[in-house]
Amino acid sequence: MQAAPPADRRRRRADLLTHIVLILGVLLFALPVWIVLMGSTHDGAAIGRGEVPLLPGAQGLDAYRRAWTEGAVGTTRVPVALMLWNSFVMAMLIALGKIAISLTSAYAVVFFRFPGRMLAFWAIFITLMLPVEVRIFPTFKVVSDLGMVNTYAGLIIPLIASATATLLFRQFFLTIPDEFVEAAKMDGAGPLRFFRDIVLPLSRTNMAALFVILFVYGWNQYLWPLLVTTSADVETIVIGIVKMIGTESNIDWSVVMATTVLALLPPIAVVVLMQRWFVQGLTDTEK
């Protein structure tokens, strides 16, 4: 047998090392999720005693059934089904709402000339510098003065303005050829028809990408729902889990683990299924 030339051998060794490091990287992210996934099929008391299982247990989906209908016994007892629904409504309406109002704002700024146009654009742009965390109590006061505490409206509307989405759509609208607009005008199509028949279909990819980013953003909110929701009816799943682990005694750990899995699934599904648009969109939006 002939020895491989040194360059070839070096390359093969580098490839092997690459695979090893990447697999370690993948495990670094998969392992914590694997632990809760396996733990959720075991007896909660055993986990509480510190027997961390790495293989499926005998309880099957029982913890999921209990979490779904009863929630965590000993804490808030909000059924996880309700939490999931609340998170879903919040994430959906934030994503769709942000996309809708950003589409129309960007359309107004790009396709019309009117007094105050630049002012409106800058007003939207400047909200980039006012994340909810820095104005949290005054914003809470406004929401409570408007009677929106513990409502979906209070949870969602204050988060719905979006400078990034508006900037992205504006950027994209500027690339729509003038000929399209002229042709539409010649056909006698007004601005609303042009918006519906030409602009919306052309924006589909951008909308899909933004949807992923904004759905995840909405689903993962923590500080704002923590302040605005005190009643179980509007509790989101991210808040619900942290409340479950907050008591430290008498926790049914398998229910907590099952709830964690349920909280992870929807946003991960959205990211993985729409990965192609998402990666493109994320790197476009933020630049």
């Binding site: 129309t104 109590f137 609208f173 500027l174 990666v279």
Partner: protein, 293 residues
């Protein structure tokens, strides 16, 4: 940049802008203005009278050793999170960019953690590092290390840094990978023909071309560590033990929510606002330069 062909309507654009501007005015500008206004006021102990106190709230804030400690905690925490998550992400991205088998699969398997909420990341790390139910926490105790991040300052800081950095790796990975893929192959081939070894080639040719991405991520990661890690800290340590993991945002939350000190909380909001404005300006000035060059 402006379009040449536009629609002539005058009223319609205002209608189209109305929802976004209404929300911006009611939930952004009005509260931000209120925060600035409250920062200069002080209420008496009974909450009956309020008086204008100028910069007194700010003076008190910066005279408070606990606030200065929170600044130091935030800086240490943010720098650690940023350095750790960016270096791991850069390593993984550089490797995933190589022409190897299953490269696409690796990418998907490293991108999905983007979807994990900070607070959920904290719960996952609890199951690793909890002293009595966590896999590693128990292991450490069995090995004779007195591990309990709920009691030990340094361990608490370590756990929140690890969880926060872990959650941010996939975001950085996506951007580094996009940055690497944008580098023209011809540049890399030229460097390879010059005979430079891969690691040397990376630092002398590839990394300088990645520096705009790295700089952008630097700002994003600092903002993330400042604000978005609230859920991680709240779920794992609640700022404790003592004040060991109390960052600026956590302190502002405690002062407003628990201590109900609106003047001091507002003054802290203003300090944070100035920091965000500063970071945003740095980022946009830099990006503008890049666009023009």
């Amino acid at each position: 940049m402006q379009r040449k062909t536009i629609f002539p309507q005058k009223g319609l654009p205002y209608l189209l802008l109305a929802p976004q501007l209404a929300i911006t005015a009611v939930f952004f500008f009005w509260p931000a203005g209120q925060a600035v206004w409250y920062a200069f006021l002080r209420q008496d102990a009974f909450g009956i009278r309020t008086q204008f106190v100028g910069f007194e709230n700010f003076a008190d804030l910066f005279a408070d050793p606990y606030y200065l400690q929170a600044i130091w905690t935030t800086v240490f925490f943010s720098v650690s999170v940023t350095v750790l998550s960016m270096s791991v992400a850069l390593l993984l991205a550089a490797l995933a960019d190589r022409e190897i088998r299953a490269a696409g699969l690796y990418r998907t398997l490293l991108i999905w953690p983007y979807a994990i909420a900070p607070a959920i990341a904290a719960v996952l790390w609890l199951f690793l590092f909890h002293p009595s139910i966590g896999l590693l926490g128990r292991g450490l105790n069995a090995m004779g290390v007195a591990w309990d991040y709920r009691l030990n300052d340094g361990q608490a800081m370590l756990v929140v840094i690890l969880a926060s950095a872990w959650k941010q790796v996939s975001y950085n990975f996506i951007f580094f990978l996009a940055g690497l893929q944008a580098i023209p192959r011809a540049v890399l081939e030229a460097a390879a023909i010059d005979g430079a070894r891969p690691i040397r080639r990376f630092w002398t040719v590839v990394f300088p071309l990645l520096s705009p991405t790295a700089f952008f991520l630097l700002v994003v990661n600092i903002v993330y560590a400042f604000f978005d890690t609230f859920g991680i800290i709240d779920a794992l340590t609640k700022g404790g033990p003592g004040k060991a993991t109390e960052t600026l945002i956590y302190r502002a939350y405690l002062d407003g929510r628990v201590n109900l000190d609106l003047g001091m909380s507002a003054a802290q909001s203003v300090v944070l606002m100035i920091m965000v404005i500063g970071l945003t300006i740095v980022q946009f000035r830099f990006i503008e330069r890049r666009v023009h060059y």
